[in-house]
Structures are given as C-alpha cells and as structure tokens.
C-alpha cells in the first residue's frame, strides 16, 4: 500500500468530485445553510430548544469539551431535532423518540440540580461548580434527577460536543490527521 501515492491521491480527488463542498456540518438559518458556529455567531434563534436550554447546553458543552459552545453545539443539536431522523449520537443508544424529550428532560434536571445546590442557573455557575456537577452526572443519577439516566445524558451530550469540535474537516486538521474524505457533503443531511 502506498497511501500517499499519486494514484491514490488522484482517486481521492476524483471521488471527491462526486461532492464539491467542505466537510462541514451545517444548520438551516434565515441565511441558508451555515455551520453551527456561524449560526451561533450570527445570532440565529433556536427553533426547538428554549433560550435557557440552549444556554445550558452551551455551558455543558464547554465543560465537556471547551470550545463546544463556540463551535455551535446548541445550534447543531437544535437543528437536528427538527429532522425526522436526527443524526445525533443519541440515535445509537436506542433511546425512545421524540429526541427533544431527551434533551429537554436532561437539561431540565441539570438546571434543577444547579438551582437546588447553588441557587443559580447551570450556565451561571463557576467552572468548578459546573465540573463538580458534570462529574457526578457522568457517574450516577444525582438525587432528584429525572428523565434520561444521568450517565447516558453525559455520554450523549459529550458525543455532541466531540461531533461539533472534531467531527469535521477542520476538526481533523486541529488534530493533525488527514481527513482523506471520499465524498464530501454539499448539503444539509
């Protein structure tokens, strides 16, 4: 195998012509298909999650993988929740539909936990307080938790954070690994 051979590279390029875009993830906004990061930066309004839910999902995302909020985790999840077949990690854990309930109930439990313990919304906690809660959520259901099992909620939202930060061509580049895509997506999935 000559993974860097001219022949293989030519074939990659030919295959890539079956699609012509960047390997990006995108969300539907008033400005068309843009990346979750751009959607967030342009102030696109969430369509399924409430403002509070979006804020807490971003705060959770930044604890799970710093940078996830800026990468648009809330806009990515929100957009996917509008699809009849969302392409979220949640799809792999056989959780019953509707998927919005998973996020709504999990984020609600996170918010209740935060208010019970610290009398503040989760997004307003200090980093240390957030980390303490997330660590507990990753291991077991905290007292008063309802909805999806807390470790499952941690696992899935952590997966969402990794998706937006590293599941793209730009993410691979940040890890110094070649993307080697055969067909690059051109439209919203």
């Amino acid at each position: 195998m000559s993974d860097s051979s001219n022949t293989d590279q030519q074939r990659r390029e030919a295959l890539a012509k079956m699609g012509t875009g960047l390997v990006a993830i995108s969300v539907s906004t008033a400005w068309g298909q843009v990346s979750p990061q751009k959607a967030r930066a342009s102030g696109a309004v969430l369509k399924r999650l409430t403002t509070l839910e979006g804020k807490n999902l971003e705060a959770l995302g930044d604890v799970l993988l710093p940078g996830a909020a800026r990468a648009g985790i809330a806009h990515f999840v929100d957009d996917q929740l509008g699809s009849p077949t969302p392409l979220l990690m949640l799809r792999y854990v056989d959780y019953p539909v509707p998927f919005l309930d998973f996020y709504r109930q999990g984020l609600g439990s996170l918010e209740n936990l935060s208010r019970t313990r610290h009398a503040k919304s989760f997004s307003a906690l200090s980093l240390e307080q957030k980390v303490e809660i997330v660590r507990e959520v990753s291991r077991e259901n905290p007292s008063g938790w309802s909805g999806p099992p807390a470790p499952l909620f941690y696992f899935v939202t952590r997966g969402d954070a990794v998706d937006v930060c590293y599941g793209t061509q730009e993410g691979f580049k940040r890890l110094n690994i070649p993307y080697l895509g055969h067909i690059l997506p051109t439209k919203k999935w």
Partner: protein, 516 residues
C-alpha cells in the same frame, strides 16, 4: 390498493435480500424487493461519521431491555442495501464445530446443516463477491477454496500490535475482507482511507450496491423504497403465503401478491413481521419465533504507543485476525470461541471513535487525549461467542407503529459461558498490548455486536422456525434469510455466512420452484 402479482417478493435489500433478488431474477423470476428505508446510491456514502448515521435504522423502534440489552440502532441498516451498506466487510466462515454445538459439546444447538453442506455456497459467494486474504496464514480456517485476491496491506498500527502477538507466541494472519486488494470484477482496489463504516463509495468494499443489487436490477428486479412491510399475507390456514402487506411512501396500504415470499428484514423486523402476520404468529407452531436472540460479546483493547500508529488509515474492521482462541475446549472453564480483529482504523468522533475510548475524560484532558491518541492510539476488537438461550426473546410490545401494528420488544442477557469467554479474552488482550510495548493499556466495557437468531433454522418443526434452506416450517413458499436463521453465533462476523446461506436458499428455490 394492490400491485400486479410477482413470482417473488423479497422484504429487505440488504446482504441476503440482494443476493436472492439477483439469483431469482437471473433465473427468470419476476422479483420485487421491498425496502423500508429510502433510496441511496454510491454518491450518498459521505465520508463523515455524522452523515454516516443516515445509514442506520430509523424505522419502527424496538424496545430493548434485559441485563445486556441488544443494540438496535447501531448495527441495523436503513435504506438501500440495509446493514450491508455500513458493514465492515470482515468475511469469515463459521467453523465446522459451530454447526454442531449440541451434539459435540452438549450445549447450545445444532444447525440442520453441516459446514460441508454450506461450503459450496461459501466458495461460490467468495468468488462472486471477491475476498482478499491469505488462506495459508489463516491456520484456523476451515477447508475451502483459496481467496481470489491477495491480502490487503498491513500498515503501521497492524505491525505494532502484531509484535505483541509474536512475543506471546500467538499467531496472526491478514484479515479476510470482502474488500478488494487489487482490481476485481470491475471494482477497484482499496485506498485505505478508513471510512468503511461510513459506507464505501469507492466500490472497493463489497456491499449490496456494488455486487448483487445491480445484478438483480439488470436481470429485471424492481426495488421499491419506503415500502414498510407489516405482514405476510396467507391463506386462511396460514399454510401458504399469498404475498405481503406494506405501506408505501404516501402511507397507503398496498397488497403485493407473490408466489414466494422471502423475509430478509434483519434480526428484529423478520420475527416482528412473522408475529404480526397472524394471531399466534406465522410459522410459529413451535413457539420459537422471536426466541434465541443472540449477539457476540465484544470489547476493545486500547494502547498508547510511543510510535505513531496512523490509526486514521486502513480499514474499520482491522488489518489482522487471530483465532488462536477459537477452539471450543470445555477445559478452559467455558464453552465458546473468540477472535481478535486487530488494528481497526479510527476517526475522532462517533460511538466507536477515539473520543469514546476514554468516556471518563472531559474538559481540557479530553482535548489533550484526543491530540495524543490521534497520533499514537492502537486498538483491537474482541469478538466472542454467546450460546443460544431461548429466554433471550423478541415479543410484540403493547406499543404500536404508525400503521397500528405492535412494535417489537426484546430482552437479552449473556450467559456465564459468554461472560467467561469475554473475561479471558480481555485478560489476553491486555497482555498482548503490553507485550507490544504500549505505554498505557486499557479496555472498554462489555458490549455486544452482530445480532442473530429470532427465527432459527433447525431439523424439527417443533424446535425451530425454518429448515436448512430457510424455508419456513409449515409454510412451504415462505423463506427466511439473514442472521435471524442462526441457531448458534460462532465467534466470527456473520455477513459471509448470511450471504452463503442466502446463496444456498436461492439455489434451492430455483431448483424446487414448482414443488414449493
């Protein structure tokens, strides 16, 4: 509404259904394939772990429970080609003893056929599909024709891990893959970019869209997408299938009459359709429809090496195999076979991605780990046998699908033999990685892969659902195909056996059409 009657209606366009469609069409039969999911082509196989989720099941939900719940969504397929579109193409033959568990070891079940009965179909399919491998180096391999292609290349990750096996006196061989190492049957060679599980658009990997579905369509078969089959229709006695009922993309109920019905709808839908087809279930005088649901145990061993592993390159299924622990020896303290799939290609995200090798990490440590592991992580996958257990069962739920038919509910747990086999495997795996020189070694938790059973084949109509050709007991013109038929799991990936069984069924159907 009703369609024009066909000779054969095939439910499912995956590995088994596509082969049957090709063979029956080529024999001059009028064939209609009903695929529950959407139409897909090669250009839909986008290189992205996120986009790849489109290929996974999105039909009626199955409730999954028990001590070791079966995974529904990850292994199932959705759309043209079914699960075959995202399978890793690790193509192994079952071993002769896998067919004779009960008679040889007093545990599990016997198949109604032997390895020698299935061998011609393995050889036929191997030639038609194309497998790369080295039969001589696979010292454990059952007798059979040599592979039509030389093995795929061993890359850095494979070489690093292989030295651990060597130091412990264990043997490895190139992984036999339904992936071209050289151009074969008009399909190109693999370029080792590691996107197999996102669907391979290069055509190097044999999936239904590259091999049998085009043959079926060329021979006149029709594929209807978004056709969700709910029932097999029968005569009043339930002894003859008259066709199927399905709901089309517009939600309209359609009756499709056929002389022969083939259910190749994957492990969860095939028994569900049978159970929904008539009170008490169709072909269910034995009460065995839905029983013996099985899966392999699995875990990955991970290691961080000083050397770069280039784990982004290669094949999702791996580069090497070792079956030194395949022999079923009750002296081990358990009954079961296992194998290692060595040096799997990995990407950063997704269920089996690098990030989930350390699910405990979050925050900056996760960033740091991803940077390190993207360069230096090696892995291999354990595949372990689980004995059949009638109590691992799929039944109808009280919940209904959008057409008003009960959903499936499945309960599953691994038995003690499977757990001991898995424990022994992981202990060995860690030792191998330590011997290979990994500076950190860890393992994932026990999981399961490759669902099988639920409509098993057997010699007796009292203890099984179908005979050795997949022909349903008591309903001579109803055939079952896919891993639902497996009475035992063996310790190898099932797709080659699924395809070989389908080839054997197709031959039987063509030869015995008038007397079915």
């Amino acid at each position: 509404m009703a369609n024009t009657k066909v000779d054969a209606v095939i439910v499912g366009s995956g590995s088994a259904g596509s082969l049957l469609a090709a063979k029956l069409s080529q024999a001059g039969k009028k064939v209609l394939v009903l695929e529950a999911g959407p139409k897909r082509g090669m250009a839909d196989l986008v290189s992205s772990q996120i986009w790849a989720r489109r290929l996974k099941w999105a039909g009626p939900a199955t409730e999954t429970g028990g001590k070791d719940p079966l995974s529904i969504g990850f292994g199932s397929g959705w759309g043209t080609g079914g699960a075959g579109m995202h399978h890793y193409a690790c193509w192994f033959r079952l071993h002769p003893e896998d067919f004779e568990m009960k008679s040889r070891f007093g545990k599990g079940l016997d198949w109604p056929i032997s390895y020698d009965d299935l061998r011609p179909a393995y050889d036929q399919v191997q030639k038609e599909v194309g497998i790369s491998g080295d039969a001589d180096k696979e010292v454990w391999r059952p007798k059979g024709d040599a592979y039509p292609m030389p093995p795929l290349s061993m890359l850095k990750q494979g070489r690093l891990i292989a030295r651990g096996f060597e130091k412990l006196g264990l043997r490895t061989a190139p992984l036999p893959m339904a992936i071209n190492s050289v151009e074969y049957n008009g399909r190109p060679a693999c370029i080792y970019d590691g996107w197999c599980d996102a669907g391979c658009p290069t055509k190097a990997l044999a999936n239904p869209l590259t091999v049998y579905l085009p043959q079926a369509i060329q021979a006149g078969a029709t594929v209807v997408h978004q056709g969700a089959v709910t029932r097999v229709l029968t005569n009043a006695e339930g002894t003859r299938a008259t066709g199927v009922e399905y709901f089309n993309a517009l939600g309209q109920r359609v009756v499709q009459e056929a002389d022969v019905v083939v259910l190749a709808a994957y492990t969860f839908e095939t028994p569900r359709i049978l159970l929904n087809s008539r009170p008490g279930g169709l072909a269910n005088s034995s009460g065995m429809v839905g029983r013996y649901m099985m899966a392999h145990t699995t875990s990955n061993v991970y290691g961080l090496f000083d050397e770069e592993t280039q784990n982004y390159l290669g094949l999702t299924g791996g580069q090497l195999v070792s079956q030194d622990s395949y022999a079923k020896d009750p002296q081990k303290g358990y009954l079961g076979s296992s194998q290692w799939l060595i040096a799997n290609a990995m990407k950063p995200n997704d269920l089996l991605g690098i990030s989930n090798t350390r699910p405990d990490l979050f925050g900056e440590p996760l960033h740091a780990f991803l940077r390190d592991a993207s360069a230096n992580l090696g892995t291999m996958t354990f595949v372990g046998e689980a004995l059949p257990d009638a109590d691992n069962r799929l039944v109808l739920s009280e919940k209904k699908d959008r057409h008003g038919f009960p959903l499936a509910q499945v309960t599953h747990q691994f038995g003690p033999d499977a757990i001991k086999c898995w424990e022994a495997g992981l202990k060995q795996g860690k030792a191998i990685f330590e011997a290979a020189g990994a500076k950190q070694v860890w393992t994932g938790g026990r999981a399961q892969m490759h669902t099988m059973g639920g409509a098993i084949m057997g010699r007796s109509a009292e203890t099984s659902v179908a005979n050795g050709y997949g022909q349903a007991h008591g309903v001579g013109n109803l055939f079952l195909a896919g891993s639902s038929l497996f009475p035992t799991s063996g310790g190898v990936n099932p797709t080659f056996t699924v395809t070989a069984l389908a080839a054997r069924s197709a031959r039987f159907l063509v030869d015995n059409w008038k007397s079915l």
